[in-house]
Symmetry: C2
Subunit: 629 residues, 2 copies
C-alpha cells in the first residue's frame, strides 16, 4: 500500500508566506490520513505569474526560506512541491542570478537528488514561451544547464528514487509543459520512459483554465500513462493569477490516470482539496466520468470564480454597473449579482434623449428581477453643458492675437455621452458607493475597438471581454435557465437589436443598431485573433474567392453573400474592420481594463501587439484587384 | 579599395513594402557611389517590435517576397540585410512555422551561404529575452538548430566569404545581441575569432535608444575590434518601434570601429543616412569625437524625435494639453510646441475654486511665451453638478424596497475634479480640435500611481512618464537655455512647490503640495524599478539600518534623516509607497497610455508586472521589528 495525497491547493501568487502555511497545514492533514507522499503544484510557494518580481533577490531568498520550512516539515512523510530554485553562484543569460523552475522532493528534512542530477531537484526542461507564458524570460532550462555542464539532457533527466516501507519507487518527475512537448527537440517523458522502468509519473503543474483544455489533457496524459504502463499523477493548483492585463483562473482538476489511461481519481474544479489514493489499488477504482456540460457552463464557472477572487484580491466588495437595456450589461449584472449578492450591486441607468422607452423599461425590469440597488442618473443636462462650454469658450491664438471657437460634431458628441456616463457618473458613483465599476465590452467590440476610451471602454475589470457576442447570448440563457432558473434577464433584452443608442442612427425601436453583424463578424474577428496561425485579409480574401470562407471561419454557410452582395462590399467591410483591429483598437486595448481570460487567446499579455498601423500584403492587393475587376 | 556603405535607414515596423522600397532606393544610391557592399540593419524588412504579428503566415510570406526583391537587386553590388527567415517545413517549439532572425548576404541575385551553414543566411545566436525583448518567443536560435542537427554552435557559426575584385574577404556576421553576450554560454564573436582570420565584422542591429547605451557600446565594440584586429561595422536603424505600452526610439549612430578600437566613422543620430567608407583606409580617418552633451540633451533628442514620429504614425497633427501652472504640464507644452508648432497646440487651463491666482497666472504666461492656442475652461460648475446629481439621486434597494443616497467625500470629490478635466473637457476639446490630449505624468507619479484614472492618468501618450521629477526640471532648464534660448517656461513654474491643487490641503500659496518628496522619493522609487537586481523594502531597510541608504540609492546624503526623524517615520513612509507601487499603481498602469522610453527600465512591456498586491519578506519583518524596538 502506497498512499499518495494530491495537494490541490490555492496558490496565491507573490505571497510565499501564505503558500508555505497552506502547504504545511495540508501536509499535516495528509499525515493524519497516513499518506506516504503528499504532492503540491508547480511553483506552489512563489506562484507562477509574477511579472518581473523574479528580479527581486529578496523575494527569491524569501521563497528559498519558505521552501526550507517545507523541507523541515517532511518528517515521516515525503513532500513533493514546486518552487523557484536559485543558484546564487551562477547567472542567467540576462546577468541576473540563476533561477530554475524546480520540482523538490523532501523526506525527513532532507532533499532527495534525482538519480543523475547535480542539484537536489528536478529542473523544468520544456519552457513555454507562447501565449501568456514567459518561462524563458526568467528560468534557466535543463537544456542550457546540460550545455554548460558539457553533457546532454538525456544524461541529466532521471527519476527520483523513493524508499518507502522497504520498497523502492522510481518516480518520473515532470513540470507542466514537460508533459506537453509535441513540438520540442526532446521530450522528458520519452527520455524517462526509455531509460529505466518508472513506477509512476508525477506532473506538477500550474495550468490556467482555457476552454477545451481539460478534454485534451485527459487524452494526452491518459495516453502517456497507458503507453508507459505507469500511473500518472497530475497536480494542478486552483486560484487566480494574472499578468497585469490578462487574468487567468486555475481550475485544479488534479487527476490520477491509471495504467489503462483512464481517470482513476479527479479533484474538484476550482476547489482546494486533499485527495488521498492508494497507488497499488488504482485499478480497482471505477473510472471517473465527467458530467456532459456545455462549454458555456465551464465559461460560467471560470467567470464566476474569477470575478469572486479578483474582487477578493483587490479588496473590493461593491460593484456598480451601468446598464443600458442591452445584452452585455445585463449579463454582467446577472453575473456579478450572483457573485456578490444584490446588496452589494448598484445598477445605474443613464439615459440621454437617444435612449428609448424600450431599453429604459428593460433596464428597470432587469434590476427588479435581481433585486439589487438601482438608480437612474440622466446625462442630458451635463452633456449639453459640456458641448455648450466647449463651443462657447474663446480659443485665443496668442501668436497671431486671433480668436476662434471649437465645433462639436455629432460623432464627437457621441463620445462625450459615453465618457459622461463612465468617467463622470459611474466612476463617481462607484467611489461613493465604495467599490468599482465594470467594463461590459465583449470580445467582438474589443477586437475592433467599438467603444469609447474613458467611456464604455473603462472599468476595473472587463469580465466579458474574452467572450464573443454569441457566447454572451449563450451565457444569458445559461444564467436564466441553469443558474437562476428563472428569467432574470428579460427576454426583451435577449431579443432587442444590439445598439449603443448614442444617436438617432442607432434607434432600437426602428431596428437600427451596431454596425457589427455578430453572426458573421464574431467569426471573422476570431480568425484574426484565435487561430494558431493567424488569419489576415490575404487569407480571408483567398477563402472568399475559393468559396470556402464560412467553412474556414466557422460561421453559418452563405452569410457573407447575404451581408455583402458584391466583392466590393465584402472587401470594404473586411478592410474597415482590419483597419480598426490593427489601428485604433490597439490604442484602446493598451488602455483597457484587465480581461478575464477563458478562450485559447485572450487580449492583453496573451496576444501581444504593437501600434504599427494596418498592413496589407502584396498578395492581398493582387487578389483584391482581381476580384474588383 | 573596398567601399562599404552603411545603410542607416528608417525601419517602419510591420510595413515590409515600405522598407523594401527604402532598401532598394538606398542600394541605388550606394551603387551610384561605387560601393562594393551596402549593409542594412537587423530585421530591416519586417521591423523588430511587431507583437504577435509573427504569427501571421501571410505576413511572413510577404516579408520573404520583399526579401526576394532585395536579393534580385544585388546586381553588381553586395547587399547585406536583416530579415525574418522562414523554414516552412519545420516548426518552432510552439508548433508554429520555424522562424529565424536572419542576416542575409546577396550578390548578383543570389544568396551567399556562410561557410558551414545549411541555410543561405546567418542565424542570430544570442536571443535577448529581458526588458522589452521577446526574441525567444518568436525566433528559433542557432543553439536549438545545432541540437536538432546533432552538431554544436561552434560547427555552424562561420564567416561569410565574399569575392570582390579578385580578393576574398572573410566577414564575421553578427546580429545585435551576438555582440553583447557577456552572460551567455557561448559568444559568436569569440567562436569566429578563434576559428580563422576574419577580415572585418559586421553587426547588424535594431537597437533601441536608452540613456548611456552608446557610451557602453563604444567601449564594448571598440574593444572587440581592437582585440580581433578587425574593423567592425555596426549598422543600426532609426525610427520608432513599440510594444504597445512602451515606445522606443532607434537612434541609428551606425559606427565603424577601426582595428585600434577607435570610432573611424559614425552616422548621425536619428537621421537616415548612407555613409560610404573605404575599408583599406579606415586607419587614415581621424577618430571621431563626440560633443560632450549632458544626458538631458540626449533625452530631449529622444523625446522630440519620439513625439514627432509617434504623431506621424497615428496620423495626429494637433495636440491639446491641460496646463496647471505646474512643471510637468509646462515641460510637456514647451516640448510639444517645439515639435508641432504653436499653430497645432492648444493649451487649456481648467481652474476650480482650489486653483490659485499664482498658477492661473503662470499658465497664461507660459501660453503667451509659446504663442500657441489657449483657452480657460473652468470645471467648477460641472463638478458641483456632478456631486449634486450623485448625492440627490435616490438609490432604490429593490429587494428590500428601501431608498438611500450616495455621499461624496472630499477624496472622491478630488478625483471627480481630475476626471472632469481630462475625460470631460480635454477629451472633448481634443476631438473638436482634431487631435489628442497628452498625459503629463512623470515617472515618480507613475511609480506610485499618484494620479486619477480617467483623469490626469489619461491621454494618447505619456511622453514624460520615463523621467524622474529631477529630470523633468533638468528638461525645463534645457528647453529654456538650449532649445528656445529664452525663458519660455516661466521661472515661477520652476520654483513653485509641486501640487495637484485638488483641495485646500494642496494650497501652493501656503507652500503645501504633493506628498511625494522628490529629492528622496525619485531615488527610492528608482531603486524599486531600475536596479538590475531590484530593491525591495528588505534591501531599503537593511541599507537604512547600516547607514548606507543614500549612497546605495544615489540621493543626497542625510536626506532620509531630514525627512524622517525616527525609524517609525521612515518605515511608515516606505510602506506607504511600496503598498501603492505594488498595489493600486499597477491597476493604474494597466490602463495608462503608452510611455516613451528613455531609461534603462521603462514601465510597460519593459517592466512586466502582475496585480498581486504588496508583499513583505520574512527578513523585512524581522528587521522592522528590530528597528521599532
Amino acid at each position: 500500500m502506497l498512499k499518495i495525497a494530491l495537494g490541490q491547493m490555492e496558490v496565491i501568487p507573490g505571497h510565499p508566506d501564505k503558500n508555505m502555511e497552506k502547504i504545511l497545514s495540508m501536509t499535516e492533514d495528509a499525515r493524519s490520513q497516513q499518506a506516504d507522499i503528499v504532492i503540491f503544484p508547480e511553483m506552489a510557494i512563489p506562484g507562477y505569474f509574477l511579472g518581473d518580481t523574479w528580479e527581486q533577490p529578496a523575494f527569491l531568498q524569501d521563497c528559498e526560506e519558505c521552501g526550507q520550512k517545507v523541507i523541515e516539515a517532511s518528517q515521516g512523510i515525503i513532500i513533493m512541491f514546486g518552487n523557484i530554485a536559485v543558484d546564487w553562484k551562477k547567472k542567467n543569460n540576462d546577468g541576473r542570478v540563476r533561477k530554475y523552475n524546480a520540482f523538490f522532493t523532501a523526506k525527513n528534512g532532507k532533499l532527495i537528488y534525482p538519480d543523475s542530477m547535480p542539484y537536489p531537484f528536478v529542473i523544468k526542461t520544456l519552457m513555454p514561451n507562447y501565449r501568456e507564458f514567459d518561462d524563458t524570460r526568467h528560468f534557466f532550462s535543463l537544456q542550457k544547464l546540460s550545455r554548460e555542464l558539457g553533457t546532454t539532457p538525456d544524461q541529466l533527466i532521471s527519476p527520483v528514487t523513493l524508499k518507502i516501507k522497504d520498497r523502492r519507487y522510481r518516480v518520473g518527475c515532470l513540470l507542466c509543459e514537460d508533459g506537453w512537448g509535441d513540438d520540442y527537440e526532446l521530450t522528458p517523458l520519452g527520455i524517462l520512459k526509455h531509460q529505466r522502468s518508472i513506477d509512476f509519473f508525477v506532473n506538477i503543474s500550474s495550468s490556467p483554465y482555457t476552454l477545451g483544455k481539460n478534454d485534451k489533457r485527459h487524452r494526452v496524459f491518459g495516453a502517456q500513462a497507458k503507453d508507459t504502463h505507469a500511473s500518472l499523477f497530475y497536480i494542478n493548483n486552483v486560484g487566480l493569477q494574472n499578468n497585469g492585463k490578462t487574468i487567468y483562473t486555475f481550475d485544479g482538476l488534479s487527476t490520477v490516470y491509471n495504467t489503462e489511461g483512464q481517470v482513476a481519481a479527479c479533484c474538484q474544479e476550482y476547489k482546494e482539496e486533499l485527495a488521498v489514493v492508494d497507488l497499488e489499488h488504482l485499478g480497482e477504482l471505477p473510472p471517473v466520468t465527467f458530467p456532459d456540460e456545455p462549454p458555456i457552463a465551464h465559461i460560467y464557472h471560470a467567470l464566476a470564480y474569477g470575478i469572486h477572487h479578483f474582487l477578493e484580491n483587490i479588496h473590493m466588495k461593491k460593484v456598480v454597473i451601468g446598464i443600458s437595456g442591452g445584452i452585455d450589461s445585463a449579463v454582467a449584472a446577472a453575473l456579478y449579482n450572483r457573485v456578490i449578492g444584490p446588496e452589494n450591486l448598484l445598477l445605474v441607468n443613464m439615459p440621454s434623449v437617444y435612449n428609448s422607452e424600450t431599453t429604459k423599461g428593460l433596464s428597470q425590469k432587469l434590476a427588479e428581477n435581481l433585486g439589487c440597488h438601482y438608480a437612474i442618473i440622466p446625462i442630458q443636462e451635463s452633456v449639453e453643458h459640456t458641448i455648450r462650454q466647449l463651443e462657447s469658450t474663446p480659443i485665443e491664438f496668442l501668436r497671431e492675437h486671433t480668436e476662434s471657437h471649437l465645433e462639436v460634431s455629432s460623432f464627437v458628441a457621441e463620445n462625450i455621452q459615453a465618457r459622461d456616463r463612465s468617467a463622470r457618473i459611474l466612476a463617481g458613483a462607484a467611489a461613493a458607493f465604495g467599490g468599482g465599476f465594470t467594463c461590459n465590452a465583449n470580445k467582438a467590440e474589443t477586437t475592433v475597438g467599438y467603444s469609447t476610451l474613458y467611456g464604455d471602454q473603462s472599468g476595473f475589470l472587463a469580465a466579458l471581454a474574452d467572450l464573443w457576442k454569441y457566447q454572451v447570448y449563450e451565457l444569458a440563457h445559461y444564467l436564466n435557465d441553469a443558474v437562476y432558473q428563472r428569467e432574470v434577464i428579460p427576454q426583451g433584452i435577449i431579443d432587442i437589436v444590439p445598439s449603443a443608442e448614442l444617436s438617432e442612427n442607432q434607434n432600437v425601436d426602428e431596428g437600427k443598431g451596431d454596425p457589427i453583424k455578430y453572426p458573421y463578424h464574431d467569426h471573422l474577428f476570431r480568425s484574426f485573433v484565435e487561430r494558431w496561425q493567424k488569419a489576415t485579409p490575404q487569407d480571408i480574401l483567398s477563402w472568399y474567392s475559393e468559396g470556402v470562407l464560412e467553412e474556414k471561419i466557422g460561421c453559418e454557410p452563405g452569410l457573407a453573400g447575404k451581408y455583402f452582395p458584391t466583392p466590393a462590399d465584402f472587401i470594404a467591410d473586411l478592410e474597415r474592420w482590419w483597419n480598426l483591429f490593427t489601428g485604433m483598437a490597439i490604442a484602446k486595448r493598451i488602455q483597457a481594463p484587465p480581461i478575464l481570460a477563458v478562450s485559447r487567446r485572450a487580449f492583453g499579455f496573451d496576444h501581444r501587439e504593437a501600434q504599427n498601423g494596418p498592413y496589407y500584403t502584396r498578395r492581398y492587393k493582387e487578389l483584391k484587384e482581381k476580384l474588383l475587376k
